[in-house]
Symmetry: C3
Subunit: 501 residues, 3 copies
């Protein structure tokens, strides 16, 4: 391998100057391609905001649609400002120093910083973490509380998690030689733990503190219902649209986490991520839906196929392969996704049993599968792929370790799960409890009954009323006479009837 | 042109080492950029799943929305598993051998394989082929039958077509020196024939075997209706969203089929594809819609503009230019798209005349235009562009041939169309007839009447009921008194009225 | 820096041949990467068509949904044909000559032209400019008038603006050494003025000539109403979807305007654009929504959060940073976005006061903020960033100029605003007035009342009717008896009740 740094420090002679000239050009191209790659991936990840908005909006009742969508839009905006002013600094500030730190301390407001594209990509992730919670607390959370929480999360809680696992100073980071577990860093390639578990734990705590929606587990007098009432999603079309957008966005989320692509190794990592991401989603969808259908078939005798299960299963599978997408084989991705589907169902049923109300099942998808994803990496990480992805392969996943008993990586992964859970619980629980105690968290009962759109957002989200019947009739008459015939054209007559009905 | 292979096999001296070092870097970059390109294109093609889901969902009646969307989601998932386990192997396995083979025989489960990004891109295409059928059989096909068919198609039928036309061992392939027609291979750059015709023929056969929806061509007693009943699409908004998403996805589908982009030639091919794709879509849209408006104006005297015609015309134009997008000029693309619009209308009317019921007009769009697209290449392929795209330009399209009479390429294209039609009909007809004979194909008549959402998917897709009027009134009272005035704020009063209406 | 042109003109000796061979490869890669970049950006910009369609469709009443969406689809198609045949030629034709010209004069029908990807990218911009108007004139403009206007705009009016500001022969262009203001060219990096103001001014003129919708400002007898009637958007879900799609598309619009990315400088420019774009949108959203909430809180005592304000604020912020995204810091982007939010509100209220009816508030978003964006660049353009983006930094923005008093750039920017306003008003005003005088502009009053969907597009856009109650009941009975029990499964019973209600 040629050493260009020494050779090109002071190139001698015409030939060397030209060789180094070409070498400079290749460096230039590499910078360009890698920037472009993050721009592409960041745009796709940001597109997931649209996916979350559609998924959440479709899942709630028609009377709360505006509210949930406004939350989705505002946390992207608040997240941008919050992550710009302090969040990015806490996450990655001071990464040029050696040793572990708890939190970063420079780059606030991106001062003396020019890796714009790096910030953009990380911002898109931060916005994702914040948005996860929106769905869970839908239909009952006050707008002001939501804004407070989302700035607190993207500005402080999430950056600390990022710092610990992804910064080169993080105490769990695989890119820090002096991390807590020395040469074993946690492997959370694209953020099952960092992004999804952080969002999922926050959502869980919020759901517990906030309490269930009126009429979900208790009747009007507060007596527990025999069976919980399921609030039908108001538009399945929006849900599936959101799901597909999220899936597409994941092709930025996971492959994009290779961060660079202008060399054969990184390109292969990103390429593998596309395949494992696809397989995880497919397996999660199939496992969750058919498991649910079989369970239901055994219970009621009538088999039906539930779209919600299919969608959330796919999302669960996606979350689950996110941590290990670069270090697992496609077969392992299918396994992880399939188990992810079950993890989703199990957690979803558990929440209902515990009377914790999650309006869009974000906790089972992001918390349960985020956790499972990080742990699964400790089982399935394959040494050759770890090398390729730039991880130390001395401690592979349990199933690939010598004799199949070396669970060191698994232990580190479990510790990381505990750390994320502990940190988020430690910071968010008091936060939400204070909000609640101050009466700033939950909307008024009557407002909840009326729906937040009318109470807080100037009217309903939909107005599907058509034209007045007499106007339509008049038009039909005018047209009929114009053509000198009594008979009205077929389509127009149909339209008139429709308007009539 | 420098020959780097010999020069860099064992570089002599410092200068050569450095030159070869830079050369290695450029190779690295090329790999990275090409991988990135397929990642981008594959993600866009996968986004077409969202497009198909929205288009189909919008086109059916409100009582079958969940069903059709679940099918769209599941065939992406089933397609992923099926194409991973066997499909890709059948399509491209054994491409290192010489000579023609009927079907591939290695890479099953992607064993001994590491071109991940190639698989990802091909999977996205396979999923597209499968999804095309979903719309046609909507509102009456059983879920289990659909799953069987979609795994069969992506796992076996489609891969054989791919193998024959795109693999270097395919017996019609332009990349096989020993193909059936020796030095003339079929030109189907991005798959008008391979993808769309395969899907379209399958849809046609399925529609014939399955029969029309209840009440479409026959009344309740089975007597033919004088004029067929048109079932209104339940949401045009979803249809147009789907159309636009598909159009955007096509910028991955067509330019992405250049497969590489990190050299000036391929870049030019991809660029040309972007332009021809645009022109084809635009021309198809305009030709289909205005032709229909004029026809209708002539017959009824009242001119109207039909959105469905515009959308399907655009899609038809897109399908039609897909085969030749890299070897035709933009002018030719406009012509092909225009004729594509007419092909769509003609086939659509023919189907209705033959009492074949296609719920979303997928057969006219994908079958008629897929066929026309492949044939059109035999007319319009331009030698210079064929060279650029890597095809043998000795036998150009009819209009560019010597004297305008050398129809050899056209003949090959016609043969290919026949082969696709024959193969798909040969495999799918017995398949669907067996399913039908076993009573596994079509849902029960009563279930069809009720709609598949309630029958099989736990309730309807929409629930647009608003809050109770008394709750809204109470809130208005509370608010009015709170501000110490009887008058309610304007918007709130409006909202109350809306809820009332 | 090595000079490869001389060195590689006739390389001498083995070493030079190989060096030049590698150099050629790097050139090849650069071409490929830059092409890919414009393909990506162009596809994203085209995706904005879907965003506009959803935003506009969501904003109008249910009875005009088909109409507005058809307009969106057709102007993309008409724009493609118009821009291909003449538009691109007027905009960029003859750019190899020296000196200023008013309009281009070659490349019509892309003759003797092969920069396909450049055309594709520019076409996507032209389609955007045309689409902006669709929303403003919604619910009352004739289809034929719309088509005429959209071809006139993309084929002639818009190309002249492009030519003046972006072509190397443009008389205001920063890339023309002999421009009107010599060494100071206008800085409109991605088109706040060129694209958005052009569309916005056209929309404004159209709205004035066309007059308000029936019942908006005047009652049935033509007497002015005390307070204008607000027509509720029929679906807020579509609006927010459109907003997010537009925001994502802007990551192609702004960074893509760097045009190339395969070198470190351009990559940095594109990267900065992602950040400033994000910050502008976030600031605009927050400023518009909270300002409105505060104003309303002061007026009525009850605070509500308006989603429309948030969405249009974000879009306004995006439009405002478009002109300067490559030459301003993120802080400046936040300021510009925040002011953009106010500009939106101010203009929106002004229009209402003047009884000018804009159905989707496109004029405040695109005209007011397009203007503000161009002017803001004259205030905030930072010399270092201007250098990087390839602009002459001798005359920076007012706030960065020597002593803070050198407003030369600001003056040029203001002149450009006047030019765009003047040119568009000069061409479009007579155009619309002639259309209006000929009775071709506005639909018949009765048709407007009935809605354009039924009048002109064969029926309503939605049909959400469910199955018949008796069918559902029958199915329930059949199922209950099949399982040998009277009790119906829970979900099914629920579904039956829903269908009942």
């Amino acid at each position: 391998m040629a050493d260009f740094e020494a050779y090109c420090a002071a190139p001698e002679g015409d030939v060397a100057v030209h060789i180094c000239g070409v070498y400079d050009i290749t460096n230039d191209i590499v910078t360009g391609v890698d920037t472009f790659f993050l721009l592409f991936a960041g745009a796709l990840v940001f597109f997931m905001q649209a996916g979350f908005a559609m998924l959440c909006a479709g899942s709630v009742r028609a009377k709360n649609v505006k509210n949930i969508m406004l939350k989705n839009l505002l946390d992207a905006c608040g997240g941008a400002i919050g992550f710009y002013t302090v969040g990015y600094g806490f996450a990655y500030g001071g990464s040029d120093r050696i040793g572990s730190t708890f939190i970063g301390d420079s780059y606030f407001g991106l001062r003396e910083f020019d890796s714009w594209i790096g910030f953009f990509f990380q911002f898109a992730f931060a916005a994702t973490a914040a948005t996860i919670v929106a769905g869970t607390v839908a239909e009952r959370c006050k707008m002001a509380a939501y804004l407070c929480y989302s700035i607190f999360l993207t500005g402080f809680v999430y950056p600390v998690v990022v710092h610990s696992m992804w910064s080169s100073n993080g105490f769990l980071s695989a890119f820090n030689n002096e991390s807590l577990f020395r040469d074993i860093g946690v492997i959370d390639f694209a953020g099952s733990g960092v992004v999804h578990m952080t969002g999922g734990v926050t959502a869980l705590i919020a759901a517990i503190v906030l309490g269930p929606r009126k009429g979900r587990f208790y009747d009007e007098d507060g007596n527990p219902l025999e069976t919980p009432v399921t609030f039908q999603p108001h538009s399945v079309a929006l849900q599936i649209l959101g799901t597909f957008i999220l899936w597409v966005g994941w092709y930025g989320f996971n492959p994009g986490s290779a961060l660079v692509i202008a060399n054969a190794g990184s390109a292969q990592v990103a390429a593998l991520c596309t395949v494992t991401t696809t397989m995880g989603a497919a397996a999660g969808c199939i496992s969750a839906m058919f498991t649910d259908s079989i369970l239901e078939g055994m219970a009621s005798g009538e088999t039906s196929y539930d779209l919600t299960m299919a969608m959330n299963g796919a999302l669960g599978g996606l979350v689950a392969v996110t941590a290990g997408c670069s270090v697992i084989t496609p077969w392992a991705a299918i396994l992880i996704g399939a188990v992810g589907g079950w993890a989703y169902i199990a957690m979803s049923k558990t929440l209902i049993a515990l009377k914790i109300d999650d309006a869009v099942d974000a906790v089972p998808v992001h918390f349960a599968n985020g956790m499972w994803g990080v742990i699964a990496t400790g089982l399935f990480a394959k040494p050759e792929l770890m090398d390729l992805a730039g991880y130390n392969s001395a401690n592979p996943g349990l199933f690939y370790s010598e004799g199949g008993f070396d669970g060191q990586l698994l232990l580190v992964q479990i510790c990381s799960v505990c750390w994320v859970f502990g940190w988020v619980a430690f910071t968010m629980t008091p936060f939400f409890m204070v909000l609640n105690a101050a009466g700033m968290f939950r909307v008024d009962a009557l407002e909840e009954e009326v729906g937040l759109d009318i109470s807080h957002h100037r009217g309903a989200a939909y107005d599907l009323t058509g034209p007045k019947k007499e106007d339509v009739d008049e038009l039909m008459e005018v047209r009929a006479s114009k053509h000198g015939k009594v008979e009205v054209p077929k389509e127009v007559a149909q339209a008139a009837e429709d308007a009539d009905a």
